[in-house]
């Protein structure tokens, strides 16, 4: 079984994000970029499936600027077998919207015919949490989102999902799309031999035109703003005072 893993190049999770002065978005000039952490978890899961003999090949795909090559090389260094880069933007500030990404991924799926798509549940830049679901709708495949455990059993996948208030296990018919959550696994470091091999692994470069997909934006960003700064707290003298404040001032009880 072939596993397809979409990976996105995003602002590194350690970077302190700065909003651009005109409010059009986040400043990405000279900022450290890395693989979306949820995608890293998806790559790790795919490699584990390969090591267990469940998967036969792991293909990583990225859609975005040319520099996303580095992200794919990281996936290859972790252990993916080959990579596809769809260059869909020139400017690092251009974000390809989930629907366009899903359409491109659907086209890649038709070409590659994987048995499973493992994706991050969302990218940490825009937190859309939509691409996996849209891809499932476009392909007519079953989907299992927010996975914290994945087991492949023949023609179906047993997926434990992290839902509000607990865990839910569902049985999804293969081929399917699984979007992964934080607790599924702990991604490995790239090993030195794999880093050295990564350059030799195939990385195909494509464009949206190759797949006949229009990636022009359908959404417009009205405003990007810094989150409000948290005000200092107050110390209360007693439980009674706390309850009064929660009732009368905060209005939460």
């Amino acid at each position: 079984m072939k596993v397809l893993v979409p990976v996105k190049r995003v602002i590194d999770y350690n970077v302190k994000v700065r909003v651009k002065a005109d409010g059009s978005g986040v400043d990405l000039a000279n900022v450290k970029m890395s693989m979306n952490p949820f995608d890293e978890i998806a790559v790790e899961e795919a490699i584990r499936l390969k090591e267990e003999g469940v998967a036969s090949e792991v293909v990583a795909v990225s859609i975005g600027v040319k520099q996303a090559q580095e992200t794919l090389r990281t996936a290859l260094a972790m252990g993916a077998d080959r990579a596809i880069l769809i260059v869909a933007a020139d400017d690092v500030h251009t974000d390809i919207e989930p629907l366009a990404v899903a359409k491109l991924l659907a086209a890649v799926v038709k070409e590659e015919e994987p048995g499973l798509v493992l994706a991050g549940k969302q990218a940490i830049d825009n937190d859309m949490n939509a691409t996996g679901q849209m891809l499932s709708a476009l392909l007519g495949w079953s989907q299992a989102t927010f996975a914290s455990e994945v087991t492949i059993e023949g023609d179906h996948a047993l997926v434990t999902r992290e839902v509000d208030g607990g865990l839910q296990t569902i049985k999804a018919k293969m081929p399917c799309i699984v979007t992964v959550d934080l607790r599924l696994n702990e991604p490995r470091y790239a090993s030195l031999p794999n880093i050295m091999k990564a350059k030799k692994k195939p990385l195909d470069e494509k464009t949206p035109d190759d797949y006949g997909v229009d990636v022009s934006p359908r959404l417009s960003i009205v405003k990007t703003a810094e989150p409000p700064t948290r005000k200092a707290g107050v110390k209360v003298g007693s439980v009674d005072e706390l309850i009064t404040k929660l009732k009368d001032e905060a209005g939460v009880i």
Partner: protein, 386 residues
């Protein structure tokens, strides 16, 4: 000229940095407090590094290493320099001098060291022989077919974890026009050899947990098979292999300076006095400008020296310059960072005081700043007959 890193080098840097940040940083405070590395932690770190294929990455592939070049390895060491030396010791970079092993020495020392099965330590310094290596009194004399070692070595880093040590001792003296000159031979000595003891050294303010040990040889009998390289060939072995430790000190200093600088930069941006971040005051902001300029300069100086080694060009002076400049830069950067932190910088609630203490030894070990200046100036003046 190309100042960029290759894709592989970028990935090596980011992998080693994540490893140090995730596997080393969380344990630093405990090592600092106790002065010890728990043995289970040491084993766990070592196993992870072996699995990642980074153990002994400075060794050629034909002996089981990763065959990294000098620039590649300098980048690895730069990122390791960020972390506590007591812990990064288990990232496993055996002394490359072990490449001088011959015949069955390869099976007993070189190959197990590269596989991470046996750890080594290098012993040169003595209480009476620091910069003056030839002043050593530790000696070996012939007795029957064997050698008998006597004397004391101190400041032997990592010997507490060593399964064997590589030790330099005097094996004779030559009369030269400039006075008597000692002949030196290198020996491989296993822990547990009768007449050889390893004991705790001094408590250093720098690099707590990275212990300096004292080695004592008391009629320690060794066969010829324990000689590394040629008898009386100790200086040749040193010259062939020991330049590497100086470039390591230089690049470690650069990595640590970058870590320290991030503390200074963020503190200058956050700490408010007189109604504004202290980074808005020129007295602080210009210090930051000087710090990053010096860090970059030391980084490029060190990488350029490593590049010369990769090209097979003479690099003795360049390595000495890198070691001198990078370690003195680290002293200035840690001191300025402490000044930016003010009183809190001296408190052990922050790691600043530790960086400041750790920085002090870098100007002393593996050739003091004065010895580096001597190497540099002799390299320039000797050709002129001066």
């Amino acid at each position: 000229m190309n100042f960029g890193l290759s894709d592989e080098q970028e990935m090596i840097v980011s992998t080693v940095r994540s490893f140090v940040e995730n596997e080393i940083y969380p344990h630093e405070a405990e090592v600092e407090r106790t002065g010890e590395v728990p043995p289970e932690l040491a084993d766990r770190l070592k196993q992870k590094v072996i699995e990642l294929g980074f153990y002994a990455c400075n060794f050629p592939e034909d002996v089981g290493g990763a065959g990294l070049g000098h620039v590649d390895f300098t980048l690895v060491e730069r990122e390791l320099g960020r972390g506590s030396m007591a812990l990064t010791h288990f990232f496993g970079r055996p002394q490359n001098i072990l490449m001088a092993c011959e015949g069955e020495q390869r099976e007993r020392y070189l190959l197990p060291a590269v596989r991470g099965e046996r750890m080594d330590a290098l012993a040169m310094t003595e209480p009476g022989a620091g910069s003056d290596v030839r002043g050593m009194t530790c000696s070996a004399v012939r007795d029957g077919g064997d050698w008998v070692l006597n004397g004391t070595k101190h400041f032997i880093s990592g010997a507490n974890h060593a399964d064997f040590v590589i030790v330099f001792v005097a094996t004779g003296e030559d009369q030269t026009p400039r006075g008597p000159k000692k002949r030196i031979t290198t020996f491989l000595v296993d822990r547990g050899t009768p007449g050889f003891t390893i004991r705790d050294g001094y408590r250093s303010v720098s690099h707590r947990g990275y212990k300096n040990m004292i080695l004592e040889f008391d009629d320690c009998r060794l066969p010829d098979a324990q000689v590394l390289g040629e008898v009386d060939g100790g200086f040749a072995v040193m010259n062939d292999w020991l330049y590497a430790t100086r470039i390591t000190v230089a690049t470690n200093s650069v990595g640590r300076a970058r870590r320290v600088f991030d503390y200074a930069l963020n503190y200058a941006a956050e700490r408010k006095q007189f109604g504004q971040p202290i980074g808005r005051f020129q007295g602080v902001s210009f210090q930051l400008a000087d710090m990053i300029t010096e860090i970059d300069a030391a980084d490029y100086l060190t990488l350029a020296a490593a590049w010369r080694l990769d090209q097979g060009l003479p690099a003795n002076r360049e390595i000495a310059s890198a070691k001198l400049y990078a370690t003195e830069m680290l002293a200035r950067v840690t001191d300025a960072t402490l000044q930016i932190y003010g009183g809190m910088g001296l408190m052990d609630d922050f790691p600043i005081e530790r960086f400041w203490r750790d920085a002090r030894v870098e100007r002393i070990w593996d050739g003091t700043s004065e010895i580096q200046r001597h190497i540099i100036s002799r390299d320039l003046l000797r050709p002129l007959g001066a």
